[in-house]
Amino acid sequence: MKTRPRETGISRRSWLLAGLTAPLFSAFAADPMKVTFDGDNLHVAAPTLHFLAGKPLERLKYGDVVAYVAQLELLNDARTTVVRPQKGRFVISYALWEEKFSVTQLGPTPATPPRTVEGLSLAAAETWCFENLTMSTAGLAADVYYWLRLELRTGTARDFADEQKIGVSFRDLVEFFGRKNTEITHWGPLETRVRLADLPRMAGRGSRLG
């Protein structure tokens, strides 16, 4: 008796499942970055972007410090012009005995005192960095569409040149300044289209834009 060759076509059930899950995937893919607005500043969250991982995390676990540079850019709707750039610089270390992370955010200018928080879990350290990466909305039109782009990478000596110039408290800020073999790791870019008027407002903050 001849056996029927096995059918390799896609079943109706598979098509149905794919049809149902595709919008879910696209929803996740389309929204890797969440943007909120407190009336004065834009706040970002990137729950899928884990920068405390891989080689940088390995270095932290060996008692090293790792510097990160986050670049937040607001572009026009055509994505041809950067309307507003914002840089955030973070230096992270990991307490070997407490097994907790310490994060220091450097100010935009060398004169601005840094902010340090200790005793964070891995997830809390990542969240803290994004929570403190804000962009002022002063002068921006509320009803215009923009693109918000987030990029993150490990830092280089050039990123901390200003702190080196002032010499003292940040001289050995990032130990890898002189290390030739330190690789730069990149994350992103993550992009999302935003209009200030549409953004969810953070609780407890008024809006100056109305």
Binding site: G63, D64, L96, E118, F170, D172, L173, G178
Partner: protein, 420 residues
């Protein structure tokens, strides 16, 4: 004026660089309790053991980390110094939890260079009696494999002046750091002093005839028995092309073994080094040797240094039984033993017994030494000889004037050169 400001800034930064703690590393709160240095196939706790190629100053600075709060900036500086001293491709440092809470262990890992070229001058010496002597080699290293090719013209070391080439292959890590392998090939042409030829004209049952060519092939294995004790074992196949009474070839094939020990005693104020070695060379008919002899040589060297002061004491003794070729007999009156004496005055064909002692004092680059010893043949009386000398030695450069102590006239020997 602007240069003054620049200078002040530079000095300020340098001062700061040496003292500033790493501000942003949360681990700065922990105390260093252990420092480990490791390389390919080896790992050493710096507090327990001296690493052979490491300078005293660097070891002292590594030891100084222990008991201090962690400063990763200082670790970077030490890693750079390790890289320089070990000519390494890279040196990284990692910090781990220590054995007790709030203490950490620092580990430096040295990654050896994949490829390196060295040009080495092993001897460059002018002796007012023997003239110019030089030896050098050019080599390269790939992973653990070193290849070297050298040329030499040396009238100082032996009773012969030998000139020719040498080639060497060496692997210091044959699967493990405890085992190394070396192949050495040498080919030299000889010139003889007339007094040696005159001495050889008489019956000389204890040594060979003069030869005009000498070749040596010597494979050896080095085994680290227990650091810092090493054993070298191998075979030396020597071939001599003689001229008299008719052209013919003779061989001296021998088992060779050497036991070496080096120990540096850790003391911050007084640095002490102890070296001991014993060499056995046994030529036998089993290996097809025309000469049958056994040679034993033992040496002990002690050095103590305190600031600019250094005192060295070295004693060497050797004995040969049987008939050894001229190359394997002991010679004194060269730049190693009984400096200041003319070796042809002592014994133009060397001896089969050696006893020698050197005491040397150095203050900075200035040196003064006293040599005492004797080379003689078994059955003959040993004549003790003495010499004194003064000199200047800075790094490898050396200038010395040595005087034999004897009744009658004084004829100093001047030695200038680079001795490694």
């Amino acid at each position: 004026m602007k240069y003054s400001w620049l200078g002040c800034l530079l000095v300020g930064n340098l001062l700061f660089a040496g003292t500033q703690d790493s501000e942003l590393n949360v681990n700065k709160r922990y105390t260093v309790d252990t420092v480990i240095v490791s390389g390919k196939g080896w790992k050493t706790n710096i507090a327990d053991q001296q690493i052979e190629r490491m300078s005293t100053g660097l070891r002292k600075d590594l030891l100084a980390l222990i008991g201090q709060k962690l400063n990763t900036g200082v670790l970077d500086g030490l890693a750079a110094r390790l890289k320089k001293e070990f000519t390494a491709r890279d040196v990284t440092h990692q910090v781990f939890r220590g054995d007790i809470p709030d203490h950490v262990r620092v580990e430096f890992e040295i990654r050896p260079a994949r490829f390196g070229i060295d040009a080495t001058v092993t001897k460059f010496l002018y002796d007012s009696k023997e003239g110019w002597n030089g030896a050098g080699s050019l080599g390269f290293t790939v992973q653990h494999n070193s290849f070297a090719f050298g040329l030499a013209s040396d009238g100082d070391t032996l009773n012969e002046r030998f000139a020719g080439m040498a080639a060497r292959y060496e692997n210091k890590h044959l699967g493990t750091d405890r085992l190394g392998l070396r192949f050495q090939i040498e080919s030299y042409h000889q010139q003889w002093n007339q007094s040696t030829l005159d001495a050889l004209a008489a019956p000389h049952p204890q040594t060979s005839d003069p030869y005009r060519e000498r070749q040596n092939f010597q494979p050896t294995a080095t085994i680290t028995l227990a650091k810092p004790l090493t054993l070298e074992v191998g075979v030396a196949f020597q071939r001599f092309q003689n001229q008299y009474p008719a052209a013919h070839i003779e061989a001296a094939n021998a088992l060779v073994s050497a036991l070496r020990y080096h120990h540096r005693m850790p003391d911050a104020e007084y640095q002490q080094d102890l070296d001991a070695d014993y060499t056995l060379r046994a030529a036998t008919k089993v290996l097809g040797s025309d000469f049958v002899y056994t040679s034993h040589t033992a040496g002990l060297r002690y050095r103590v240094a305190h600031g600019k002061h250094q005192l060295m004491e070295q004693v060497t003794a050797g004995t040969v039984s049987g008939q050894a070729p001229l190359v394997d007999r002991f010679v004194a009156g060269n730049s190693y033993y009984l400096r200041g004496w003319n070796k042809y005055d002592i014994d133009p064909i060397g001896g089969n017994r050696l006893m020698h002692n050197t005491v040397e004092y150095r203050y900075g680059p200035f040196q003064a030494f006293y040599d005492a010893g004797s080379v003689w043949d078994n059955g003959q009386p040993a004549t003790a000889r003495h010499s004194v000398g003064v000199g200047f030695k800075e790094s490898i450069f050396s200038l010395a004037v040595a005087f034999p102590i004897r009744s009658g006239h004084v004829e100093p020997i001047i030695m200038i050169g680079m001795i490694y």
